[in-house]
Symmetry: C2
Subunit: 384 residues, 2 copies
């Protein structure tokens, strides 16, 4: 039905009406006092969201631009880095690092499995010469719905003492607790179309003191993504290059909403949405792709065995106007992914599960009790 679209993909995520309307305001000059006021407020709220006193810099890029900035500002050609790869975005880290001529050691896990922190510990402990300059990982692996154990891996990095930790939190920030200062995370990248509840078009990089120290001697070439320029100008509440003014209008409103909800409530809501979704999928007899103990707060991947994943997506879209994500690369056609990140309520999960049940009925999928998915999700909500 026209204009009835319901996005349940991991990004773009749903955007509140007040954010959209803010974005429809006429732009103002980005060198004006009015814009500086917005930027000052937005920056303060970004620091709140990141739980940090570090710089949190805003760039006109998508998430990959933020990831690239998170690497190239702190390393030099040939530097050895240790990258975790258990999905499409781990793979992207590897590609970026290689594109810039870094020496890339990779710790892998199967797509759908979690990175083993123990492997990081071993490699880091073996590196007595301290040749590893950075450990680079994806926190919530969007392609599979796996949440890697950032806290433990980071502890091993801290024990190493020299390597920076560089993290893609694109689908965990604003959904899961990532206490940057408490954990001492050096570089943290994210993007607006995720937990932020804003359309795509802005990337963010949080940078700590140790990373700025590395910046001083980092030799990889950069200009547009040179975070030193953004830092210098952010101190004056401005930007080195023209910012996407209307995106900032939207971000300003979205951050107000997030502060009003509160971090603990935001994290609890995502936890609840995740549990309800997983309980429902299990009740429907559909296999979950990622293990319970490593469930992403942003996305639940399902690998149906007796019904076609693409057919499910197709009926969900055509009949119920609900967009689910498909699998990427070798998982194309094998899994579907339910996004529950950002501006998503308990009601949205009930809706999606109800439509999923109806879809399964239409496709003649047997072996589940109609209503059992909604009942399982409702039970999670009742007990939350």
């Amino acid at each position: 039905m026209d204009d009835k679209l319901m996005l349940m993909i991991p990004g773009p995520t749903p955007v509140p009406e007040q954010v959209l309307l803010a974005m429809a305001k006429h732009p103002i000059g980005h060198r004006s006092g009015d814009f500086s006021k917005i930027m000052a407020e937005v920056t303060e709220n970004l620091k709140w969201l990141h739980q940090t006193q570090n710089d949190v810099l805003s760039l006109t890029v998508s998430g990959t631009g933020a990831m690239e900035a998170a690497i190239i500002n702190f390393l030099s050609p040939g530097d050895r880095v240790l990258v975790g790869n258990n999905g499409k975005f781990g793979e992207r880290w590897v590609e970026v690092a290689k594109a810039y001529g870094l020496t890339v050691d990779i710790i892998t896990a199967e797509w759908g499995q979690v990175l083993d922190p123990e492997q990081f510990r071993q490699v880091l402990e073996a590196d007595t010469a301290k040749t590893i300059k950075a450990v680079i990982i994806t926190h919530s692996e969007t392609s599979t719905g796996v949440l890697n154990d950032l806290e433990t891996i980071n502890r091993h990095v801290k024990a190493h003492g020299e390597a920076l930790i560089i993290v893609d939190t694109v689908t965990s920030l604003g959904a899961y607790n990532v206490p940057i200062d408490a954990w001492g995370l050096d570089v943290v990248a994210s993007g607006s179309q995720k937990g932020y509840m804003v359309p795509p078009g802005l990337g963010f990089v949080a940078v700590g003191a140790r990373a700025w120290e590395a910046y001083k001697t980092a030799k990889l070439p950069r200009f547009y993504l040179d975070l030193g320029k953004y830092r210098k100008d952010a101190a004056k509440n401005t930007t080195p290059f023209t910012p996407p003014v209307n995106m900032f209008f939207g971000l300003q409103v979205a951050l107000h909403m997030m502060r009003a909800e509160g971090l603990d409530n935001i994290f609890a809501r995502h936890q609840r949405l995740t549990q309800a979704t997983r309980a429902a999928v299990k009740a429907l007899g559909l296999p979950l792709f990622a293990p319970d103990q490593a469930a992403s707060p942003a996305i639940t991947s399902v690998m149906p065995d007796r019904v076609d994943a693409e057919q499910i997506r197709s009926v969900m879209k055509k009949r119920y106007d609900i967009i689910l994500a498909g699998g990427q690369d070798h998982l194309k056609g094998k899994i579907f992914r339910i996004g529950h990140l950002g501006f998503v309520s308990d009601r949205d999960i009930l809706t999606a599960i109800a439509a999923l049940e109806a879809t399964l009925q239409e496709l003649g999928y047997e072996g589940f009790t109609p209503g059992s998915g909604v009942a399982a999700a409702a039970k999670v909500f009742a007990n939350a």
Copy 2:
């Protein structure tokens, strides 16, 4: 007065209401057929606007990101480039080229003066060994309001036979005739918040066959700005990284408006706005900063001698809610700049000039006949 802002700066430029409202629509998935349809249409219209059959690629960046992409995809470390520098954006080309370790020869002119094509001819003719890999210039120098003679400089580049021509058309595209195919321009960069009538947040790079040939052997590192990735995906009406979906909604509408107006009308309008503005400024006895024969179609710079430029900007803003641009770098406080780029009508010029006259009266500026500025602009319109 609240909500009465009138932007007369060279970017962000005014945005039509229908573009703003399109941007306020809920985002759709960027991997959907619906988005591909939009992208297909937008790409076709971008080619129309660029007067080219070349690829025109859309990136989530500001203008500087597009400029950087225009360099790093086609050159290798140490490559010799010849850069024109007669203002802040010429200077930026130099900075980007140096940040990537290119060997940079510079042809300069004073800020406010035009680059001398003859100097390009001499250097290019002297380069019989064909060591110059690219000539890089700014077409409309936003910081001064000077339009460089791209057509003649490009002719000398073509006579050289080896060097690529790489052009910043950020404030000329969609305002002045830049026939990419007819002139054989290799790489042309621009940004959405200018002639496109869209807020900032998208950059564009048009790339021709000779440039793609150079791309094959170009060794500068790149990933997010790797235009080969964008080209490959554009062929399938998609993007390598998440595009700013809502910006595309706006761009789609803006390009409809541009096609409806027609290229010749768009160029004629900007020509008329430029002439009217310059005639008015002259009538008011204020010195123009750039010469008539090199007047930018986007911006008119004024260097007042008997009244303070910043005071003019301040009164224009406080009393009339009209934002003019100030000078940049060493021109700060010395010039003011009237933007007339994009969604600007004859009426807007009459308005700005009327307010400028009122401002001059308030500041006690003497030596002009009140009403003479508006009369001079009106005369241009009457005869157009």
